[in-house]
Amino acid sequence: MAAVISVAVVDDDRMLLDGMASWLGGVPGIRLVAVSTTVDGLLAAAPAPRDGAGAAAPCDVVLLDLRLRDGSLPRDNIRRLLGAGSRVLVISTVPDRARVVEALRAGADGYLTKDNDLSTLVAAVEDIAAGRGAHSPELAFAWAHDTGPERPRLSPREEQILLDYASGMTLHSAARRAGISAATAKDYLDRVKTKYRQAGRPAHTKIELARRAREDGLDVY
């Protein structure tokens, strides 16, 4: 079913908000329903249902600027938006890698720099709305060169796909180079994302740690 995807943008640059409005205005299948300079602002003024139908629903995808001037933490912003029922695509002017990694760990579904084409942005929004998650070379680069202490252990294959995709190759080309199918290559990227998500979860009890070890395939003997 070709439902229209509702999108909101949170960014403290008014010029970007205006630009986004005119950019997305011409895209079929996507409707920009709200813009705000803060997450507070967005959540307070829930999108007015234009169809006049019932209560305000959370929009499908929120484009969230990585760094907001109100000093809020990306992690908190993402959790609040997820809590409100939206999916989050993080955007920023410059890829501040440590923050990008942290944002994905906190549950964001994708990351793009703002210099991407409209078609790339629309594809990412559609992927995220469909629950597939979005990959991008800039995100792969942040993961590939993450030097943080919480970096999950990646398999050599995962590393290779990550590096090749980060270097600008299409997923298809990266897969061909590795001698695997594009679907498998995407699986690898998805796995990396999952590993990062899991590394972000706090483990409280021994039972949970044991379960985590099983999930991560650490107890293979």
Binding site: R97, G168, T170
Partner: protein, 406 residues
């Protein structure tokens, strides 16, 4: 600090040899070591010559005449052995080992004169003068090598152990006074030389450090100025023109220029976000990317942890990137290329650069339109000790990987 560490390996022999024969060029200066090390090398040499003059007396004058003297032969051998130990280690390590200096003081300075006086030469001071002479060079090396007031103690001990020898031989007061005078002045002169050279060395080191700091400061200033100039010619000029009004922001040319300026700023942030901006490789990549942009290409650049590489390698990488970008411009049928440059964590100062496009690619089985690219990129990298890899498939773009070192 890093430069200091390199000096540690300088051995005394090389040090004083160079100090004597003169230096050639900055590299020799660096290998020669700091001012203090040069002072040490000189003092090792000076006291060695002093001791050598006494050993010559001991060997030449004593051995032929007094082979029958029970202390002369073993005594000379002992003096030679201890001297070899003291100076052998000092030449090897660059400075005296205090333990051996103490051994020298005790054996050559105290025991030997006493033994020589007590055995064969007790009747006549001239007979054991060679042993007394060795005592004065022991006094000199102790004055240089021992800290604080220890040289004073050593001179006192030497006087106290040499006097009984003269008393046994009933030597003239003039001879005894002369010897004590020699002991004291040998120590004093050596000590004054050493302090003076030390001070000069320290001043030299400070001056060198100031010069190095000033040089680094100058380099940073030049770099900043370069950035400012580039910002002035790009971002500032564009913004000023836009702020003046009358320009259509939607004009594709205006947008292309803005995009280029933004890309420049982005690279600037990428390059300087690491620990230290790496001038050589960063500047080489920047130049190659800008020349591609001037052809109307869009280049997405990502850098991580750029290492410091020799200018020649950076130049080769820059040229190879330029070639690869030219190839994208001419053959790929796409105006967009991706350049990534990252340090190689496992090989220290290595760097890996990829130039990737998503264009028409080539069929490696059938024909190789990238042949020109392949040879030019390979040639440049190989010459600088690096390697290049060109890969592609039909409709899957081209991937050029440059590595340095190989």
């Amino acid at each position: 600090m890093g430069a200091q560490a390199e000096f540690v390996g300088v051995s005394g022999v090389q040090g004083w040899a160079r100090a004597l024969w003169g230096m050639r060029g900055a590299q020799d200066r660096a290998r020669l070591g700091s001012g203090i090390q040069r002072a040490q090398a000189f003092m090792v040499l000076a006291t060695l010559l002093y001791r050598a003059s006494h050993l010559v007396v001991g060997v030449l004058a004593v051995v032929p005449e007094r082979l029958g003297d029970p202390t002369a032969c073993p005594g000379t051998v002992a003096a030679l052995a201890v001297s070899a130990l003291v100076y052998g280690t000092a030449l090897r390590d660059g400075w005296f080992d205090r333990r051996y200096v103490w051994a020298d003081v005790l054996v050559t300075g105290c025991l030997l004169p006493l033994a020589a006086a007590a055995s064969g030469g007790a009747r006549e001071p001239g007979a054991f003068a060679w042993a007394m002479l060795l005592s004065t060079s022991a006094s000199a090396v102790a004055a240089v090598a021992l800290p604080g007031l220890w040289p004073v103690v050593v001179v006192a001990v030497l006087v106290a152990t040499n006097l009984p020898g003269y008393l046994l031989a009933r030597a003239d007061a003039a001879v005894v006074t002369g010897h004590v005078n020699s002991l004291v002045w040998s120590a004093l002169i050596a000590w004054v030389f050493w302090r003076y050279l030390c001070r000069q060395g320290c001043q030299l080191d400070e001056a060198t450090e100031r010069a190095v700091t000033a040089e680094a400061h100058k380099a940073r200033y030049a770099e900043r100025l370069e950035h400012h100039r580039a910002l002035h010619d790009t971002v500032l000029a564009t913004l000023t023109a836009l702020a003046g009004g009358g320009i259509d922001g939607n004009d594709p040319r205006v947008r292309a220029r803005c995009a280029q300026d933004a890309a420049y700023l982005r690279r600037l942030v990428e390059q300087t976000s690491g620990s230290e901006p790496r001038r050589e490789i960063g500047a080489a990549l920047e130049e190659a990317i800008r020349s591609a942009e001037s052809l109307g290409m869009r280049v997405t650049a990502r850098f991580h942890d750029l290492p410091a590489v020799p200018p020649k390698a950076a130049g080769a990488v820059g040229d190879a990137v330029r070639e690869a970008l030219n190839n994208v411009h001419r053959h790929a049928g796409t105006g967009h290329a991706y350049v990534t440059a990252t340090g190689q964590p496992d090989s220290g100062d290595g760097v890996t650069v990829t130039v990737v496009d998503r264009g028409s690619g080539f069929d490696p089985e059938r024909h190789v339109p990238g042949l020109g690219l392949r040879s030019s990129v390979h040639g440049r990298m190989a010459e600088a000790g690096g390697a290049a890899l060109v890969e592609g498939a039909p409709d899957e773009g081209v991937r050029v990987e440059l590595r340095w070192p190989r």
